[in-house]
Amino acid sequence: MLRSWKLKEVVLMSVFSVVFAVVYLLFVHVGNIWSGFIGPIAYEWIFGIWFIVSIICMYIIRKPGAAVYSETITAAIEVMIGNAVGPRLILSGLIQGLGAEAAFAATGYKRFNWWVLVLSGVGAAVFSFAYGFFVSGYSALAPSYLALMFGLRVMSGAVIAGFGGKWVSDGLLATGALRGYAISLDKRKPSVD
């Protein structure tokens, strides 16, 4: 999968991962402060922030794997920075990335408009919730409470990761820094439909 990637795209992805690893860790602290008071639901409404790097990298690089790799590398860098959540982050990063990747794979890596990005945020939310259901033992919670958690996470994935990711990437595109990446090449191409 990585064969079609240029080295500069790999490095771009990992430098983005560093920036977002720091952002992610900041938000872990935000969630931690709240979670003592309102329980695991504290993380749900901001959960979308932890999917954003896959959407940004895929939107910019537009190659198969961009969502999975970027999310996993971000998790790996969080571990390398030495945060205490540790190696299990890599696993959850991988699963979130797969969820985000699924939406792009389903559209054949051809469409990168807002609804695919939103769908990708939702995909990451669904995958990560299924994983959390297993690892954190959500089955001990009442179904109605679970539904609330799930709804919040999907909303957050759609809004923060989907729309937020597009918003940040479009801002970055406007600076002109992304010349030479798929995102600006596709913009220049006359639209077919």
Partner: protein, 253 residues
């Protein structure tokens, strides 16, 4: 062979695998004993086989204890039907012993996960971890060295973050009153940071290619990370702990 060096010298990729396997195994248990015994075992192993700063360890455990407490009371208050006898009731809320045991189990699980994560974090050097992933798990060198480049940029990114914030302060932006204003303000911070990151990434990639880095899989490495006999001994030790805590936990309930 020094005993309190063992965990530090353990192969990082194998250690990572041990952590993942332990977590995925613990996730199947809903009794409070299994994660509690596992936690005690991990702390004991760490006491004997490593030399870490325990004061720092305690400090790092605090947020997890808070999280565990959050889990405890949410799982009691919003518990799924589990049967058992009612041990406590208040207005409409009734808590059975079964539900309480599950809630306790989930919060111990948070503590057990954190203990093994901290064990990894305290005894593993980040660069060695990536090198080991490349050499033992055949992580693509393109990706491995890409990660290393990103990791080297960490201090630069931090420096830039401070610079941009200073620049914003000079112009009087970035002191919003409400949290949602600060949330939207993040974009103002992120975009210059990312734009600079793009340029740095390009320069680094050119430099790597100029020095004939192709990213092809290889068999010989500048700094080999090996798997030794002791790695298997430690792995066996962790697995024994995992299995015995699983069995004991089930027997005790």
């Amino acid at each position: 062979m020094v005993l309190n060096e063992q965990l530090h010298e353990m192969n990082p990729a194998i250690k990572f695998l041990v952590v993942v396997v332990s977590m995925l195994t613990l996730a199947w248990f809903f009794n409070p004993w299994t994660p509690a015994i596992f936690f005690v075992g991990i702390v004991l192993i760490q006491l004997v086989c490593s030399r870490i700063n325990w004061k720092l360890w305690l400090l790092m455990m605090i947020p997890f204890v808070i999280t565990a407490f959050g889990y405890l009371w949410t799982t009691i208050l919003f518990a799924a039907e589990a049967g058992g006898t009612v041990i406590w009731s208040w207005k409409h809320i009734e808590v059975t012993d079964e539900q309480f045991a599950r809630a306790l189990s989930l919060s111990f699980r948070v503590i057990a996960f954190s203990s093994i994560s901290l064990l990894f974090a305290f005894t593993t050097r980040p660069v060695n971890f990536v090198m080991s992933l490349m050499q033992q798990f055949r992580l693509s060198p393109k990706l491995a060295y890409g990660i290393m480049v990103g990791y080297q940029f960490l201090p630069v990114v931090k420096e830039e973050f401070v610079q941009i914030r200073h620049a914003h302060r000079l112009r009087g932006v970035g002191d919003e009153k409400w949290w949602w204003q600060r949330l939207f303000g993040m974009r103002r911070m992120l975009i210059p940071l990312l734009a600079a990151a793009v340029r740095k990434a390009e320069r680094a990639a050119f430099a790597m290619e100029a020095r004939a880095f192709t990213g092809e899989p290889r068999t010989e490495f500048f700094k080999p990370v090996t798997v030794r006999f002791n790695d298997w001994v430690l792995t066996a030790l962790f697995l024994t702990l995992l299995i015995s805590s699983s069995i004991l936990g089930v027997l005790l309930t």
